[in-house]
Symmetry: none
Subunit: 220 residues, 4 copies
């Protein structure tokens, strides 16, 4: 007795808080289960290959429960996509922020990208796969990535007072295309190549495609 007696404050809200939480916690748990199930199923079968029933069933819930948590199928897809884009963004931004110099920065970016993909395999497969239907999500993820690459490239060009030889817009599309394809391909079966090789390849191509003078050395 007497051990860790509830404080007066705690005693004053005897049910309200815990009770409300019990339901709220259960609700949140269901929502999370639905999200997790959706991630797994979308990654495996694509947006069109999955029904709301599938998701609910996979989450151990009744069909109708899905609609207590999400507007409809597109809504859960969008939520997953947007959340992931946000995380990826932070992750890449953090990585490049600390990098000094172009080489370091590009490599850090590639590493962040690959690391994130590894840690979020399901979601990245959704995001970087064929079915990541731009119509389901308002904004195309890759377009956003391309835009952020392009912006950085322009900054650098301005700083160095260089006229970029290649159109930055086209170049950024090429880079994200490369990223998406390589990462989707790799995630489908990570034994296809060691992680380091992926990072290195992405880094090299991006760097060489970027640099002035990079194409002169081919004497052939």
């Amino acid at each position: 007795m007497g051990v860790t007696q509830p404080s007066r404050a705690a005693r004053r809200l005897p049910r309200p808080r815990p009770r409300a939480s019990a339901a709220a916690r259960s609700r949140a748990a269901s929502r999370d289960r639905l999200l997790a199930s959706a991630k797994a199923l979308f990654a495996e079968r694509g947006l069109h290959g999955v029904t709301t029933h599938d998701i609910a069933e996979h989450a151990g819930l009744a069909a109708g429960t899905f609609y207590l948590h999400f507007e409809d199928k597109r809504a859960i897809f969008r939520e997953i996509a947007l959340e992931t884009v946000g995380q990826l963004r932070s992750c890449v931004d953090a990585a490049t922020a600390g990098a000094a110099g172009l080489d370091a920065s590009v490599r850090a970016q590639a590493e962040a990208l690959v690391g994130f993909a590894e840690a979020n395999r399901d979601v990245m497969q959704i995001l970087f796969s064929a079915d990541a239907d731009a119509s389901a999500i308002e904004s195309d993820v890759l377009d956003w990535l391309a835009a952020s690459i392009e912006a950085r490239r322009r900054q650098r060009a301005a700083a160095n007072d260089l006229e970029p030889e290649l159109d930055p817009v086209v170049l950024s599309q090429a880079i994200v295309g490369m990223w998406a394809r390589v990462i989707a391909w790799w995630l489908r079966d990570p034994r296809r190549a060691p992680r380091e090789r992926i990072v290195r390849t992405l880094t090299r191509i991006q760097l060489s495609g970027t640099q002035p003078g990079a194409q002169s050395p081919n004497p052939q």
Copy 2:
């Protein structure tokens, strides 16, 4: 008996058994109309946004007629995709065959690709777009392209007796990813960049990402 003999012109056509050809020609015409309609509609609305009724109606045919010509919806999609891949392949092969040297070859390839995309906008949008559901077509088009790039690369490496610095498999995935993205992006609105700039950008990146020594110039 001699009545309604096919005209000389009709006989000149490669169609077999001229006597039966009235029916056969009509059949072929329907089939072609279905294919053309499917290309247009898939390009515009994607595989899942088009019904077999839509295709038949657009072709001016009855709903049931579709199934006289194609097994099912995936079959017509697959046929379009495979036919296009075949054409693209010939086109690219022809272009690179005549090119001397690496630079010329890579540029010829890029030109062939972009030219083909321009001339077959509908189909390429299908092939290189999000909805080109790998599950609908048995073999992924881009995988095939990647394989062919990889093969050429290995050949060249063997010929030059060079150990490629970058993994050819990863590299080829990167290249087709880049292609697909840039071309799909460009086809969505070709006024985004002049054709030549697309060709040049693709050529440069591929070349620089490829060459030994390409990364040395950035001494940082």
Copy 3:
């Protein structure tokens, strides 16, 4: 042999006409079956008590077939209602057109109404019943009837140069309310009263409620 040989004309369109008709006739027959089933079921169970599946099944058709013929449940309801209103209108108009004098006209109207109700029991039960949800049909049937009564009444008042003692709008609402209730009640079980008694009662009330001087006998 030789008996009723098809005429040359008939022979000249051997398939086209009959063939097209066969499908069209079948289509029309299905549509009619759906309409008939809908009438019966709506009359029995009301708009909300009937599903599109019920209608299709009752018509001996598959669930999906319903949608080949009608937009949705409200559409078939609306079609039934509007068609019936149209017929009723013609019927009543025809009856009153031939009637000379007020008495005759009112009686003819009542007779037409009751006769029509008898001949179209199902549909009238729908139209004059509780469930004839004005939201399902754009315009309320009874409102239309009221408006037409009101118009006639105003005409007559103008002709006779009389200031109507009772508000024609209110009066017309009262009359259609009376009609709808009495007819719906009677149709629910026509043995409740002989047809003639219904006609007579409706006629009397309408006439007496209408006439100038009708209220004089209560001198109070």
Copy 4:
């Protein structure tokens, strides 16, 4: 032990066992809120346009609470309807009880009806509207009203030793039909006519339709 004796005021209330009444009062309050919400919502959107969630939410209660107070959706609808019918009945009975003579009685009835409708707009809209699905309430309200009119009429006929010219059953249906329609129409927008005009119209029609000799004056 005399502690916390209910005040005299509380004791005057008809609630039993004052000690338990904190809970009981709260319970009754919830029930009342549900009833009030249901009335408002049913009047606005009809029986089928309102969900039990809607009612609970409008009442500021949780969804499940609804079922602590009512068997199901039809039960609350029925309760509202029956309670209202009872009130209306008393109201009309009280009004006619004090009236001397036929005219006065009919007018008093009309006044009571219209007054009640005005004071209970929500509920009367439910009761007298299309959606007052007779299947939801066991007994049709209007049937009850008709029966009571009919009874009075028969009484009077017996007293006066008159053979009624019109079938009292049919007549009573006509009258309630008229009432329901006019009142529903008026309540939908009371600015349509001044209250007095409604009362007067209803009175006149009922009186004239009722009286022997009422139809003689039309000499035409």
